[in-house]
Symmetry: C2
Subunit: 348 residues, 2 copies
DNA sequence: TTGTAAGCGTTATCAG
DNA sequence: CTGATAACGCTTACAA
């Protein structure tokens, strides 16, 4: 026993284990485990002794050992899909905001979040569950990166996951209420007296959301007895550049218009810039509305009227859906509510 | 053995272990471990057999078991400090960009990243190492949250960490080359013919960086035989509001000025808005330069001339410094290089 | 209410 | 070059 004490002292330099706490508290190791885990079968006096000993020794459970034993990790993996070759810092701010809300929601439910940015086959990786690094996976990103979605869409059965931005309706998605949002935006412009409203977007983009937003716009237009008009964006460019060019094309086409609905804020901002530089007055001559509620929209001149998703609900829904799936429930898609944020790019 | 086969089949439903691979490849379990870990002592034919068996069985190592045995996690924890009560999604975009670059750098070095957003004593938590959840910790955030820095500054000895935004020089920090950046900004304004340049900032803010930026500005001013002037921001407000008010105060004071150097982009943007709304023409009447290079600056009217840190270097430095510390090197602070980004808020 | 003991699935040491 | 075998530190039946 003398020897064992020396060993212990040496050991403590490296790591305090539940055995050390047990010895200090005068109980067995399993009692320590139970007491600290909050097991109700432990008597209060014992628990107190254990807790105090643990505190004094500065003991913390080794999560690796605990997880190995439990077979669960208490961790969710979060993969952010970037455009191929894109610098991580240039990721669309909308996704960063969603990342923040998702981490917050996970933390509120007692989960850790393992984050990875991925953009191309060299770094696609989703075997978090097989490696016991996480209990499930959240994938967030632009639909444009089809290779990425192909990859995650074909992960082995038994992998729990949810996603935002999926190009396929077959995936377990959470997404904005795009239809309602687009209708909100369009009706707002109609109410403000704009008539010739053009949508800058695409029905063929893998970005599912864009199609839905166009549909909402179109529905609101028809409701008002007006014809929906789509000015298509060019595939593959940065969003603001798409907006830029689409606006330039629209102007060049000679078509009459007095308002623009951009299917994303960055597209709308690009269009706004083009309009202004060509001498159009916004919101007097032309109204502009975007979709997403990115921070930059508040800084443009005029600041951009937009549709904003409820980020908190979005993060919570992603996490809750995933946890439900882990718990065995079948996946079921969800919509996140949106609201109109009126700023200066539409007239009073 | 017949029985063992049945067991195996049943087991495979739950999890494939290295034993299963060993059996399939006709080698011992430890050989599987070595072969898959790239141990050089394994012969090529054996390795091939093992690799194939692993692939066929869809085997992946259980990282929890591996980590328990190794005593290392291959993971870095990243704590983002928010303002108390602030919604996670509203975190300064600069920090989100840094988060992205840091994750990229960690991935490039073979580390996973565990991300947490923290804002107040209820959720301060940094015992990642003690719990064997990570090998070290990166803390990123505003110096304003002094409670947070007090907390992380007093983590037990033996915890490896680095930080960005530390209010104390005693912490193991990485930060922008604020002095050089501010001099760059100020000289740029001087060259463009501005003379009465006022700095919007603070020398007393816990935000160490602000003091350094003021110093750089002051040095460049004196170099040119001019007097540095500080217009103080009010403590505790959102940055843009601080800029707003400081600009308003400056105007109200009647002091002559023809340029403003904001110690952060959001402060500069707030000032820009105020100036414009009061009828000043930027950049003709007044020049404005910020610091940070946030995305929103590109969307303001006029777009904001600014100083941008090299995000990639920043992320790499944070990760490299931390890994070095984990490896036993003493901490040593580092500066991240900056560059001038000329946009429209300073005249030609 | 508490103690004993059996794993969880690896990696690493030690033979051979 | 490969095979036994002992940890790693915890959780959880099973006993008492």
């Amino acid at each position: 026993m003398g020897e064992s004490k020396v060993q212990m002292t040496e050991k403590r330099l490296t790591r305090v284990t539940s055995f050390d706490v047990a010895e200090a508290a005068g109980v067995s190791q399993s009692t320590v485990s139970r007491a600290l885990a909050g097991d109700t079968s432990i008597s209060e006096p014992t628990r107190r002794r254990v807790t105090e000993a643990a505190q004094k020794l500065n003991y913390q459970v080794d999560e690796n050992a605990a997880r190995l034993r439990r077979g669960k990790t208490g961790t969710l993996a979060l993969v952010m899909i970037c455009r191929p070759g894109e610098n991580r810092k240039d990721l669309n701010p909308f996704y960063f905001a969603l990342l923040g809300s998702t981490c917050a929601a996970a933390a509120a439910r007692g989960y850790e979040v393992l984050v990875a940015f991925q953009d191309s086959p060299e770094n696609f990786w989703g075997h978090y569950q097989e490696r016991r690094k996480a209990d499930g996976l959240i994938v967030i990103g632009t639909s444009e990166n089809t290779a990425a979605w192909d990859y995650f869409g074909s992960l082995p059965e038994g992998n729990h996951w949810v996603c935002w931005g999926a190009p396929s309706d077959a995936f377990p998605w959470v997404r904005s209420d795009n239809l309602a949002g687009a209708m909100l935006a369009t009706r707002h412009m109609l109410v403000r007296g704009y008539k010739d409203i053009v949508c800058l977007g695409s029905e063929t983009s893998p970005q599912r959301q864009f199609k839905e937003r166009f549909d909402g716009y179109a529905e609101a237009m028809r409701e008002a007895g007006l014809n929906p008009i789509m000015q298509r964006i060019e595939r593959g460019l940065p969003r603001e550049e798409q907006g830029h060019r689409a606006a330039a094309d629209l102007i060049a086409s000679g078509r009459k218009f007095d308002a623009i609905f951009g299917v994303s804020d960055e597209i709308a901002l690009g269009a706004l810039k083009e309009l202004t530089s060509q001498g159009y007055k916004v919101p007097q001559d032309v109204g502009v509305v975007g979709f997403d509620g990115v921070r930059a929209g508040a800084w443009s001149t005029p600041p951009l009227t937009t549709i904003e998703s409820d980020f908190e609900v979005a993060g919570s829904l992603l996490v809750d859906r995933l946890i439900a799936t882990i718990g065995g429930e079948p996946p079921s898609p969800r919509r996140v509510p949106v609201r109109l944020v009126v700023r200066g790019s539409t007239r009073d």
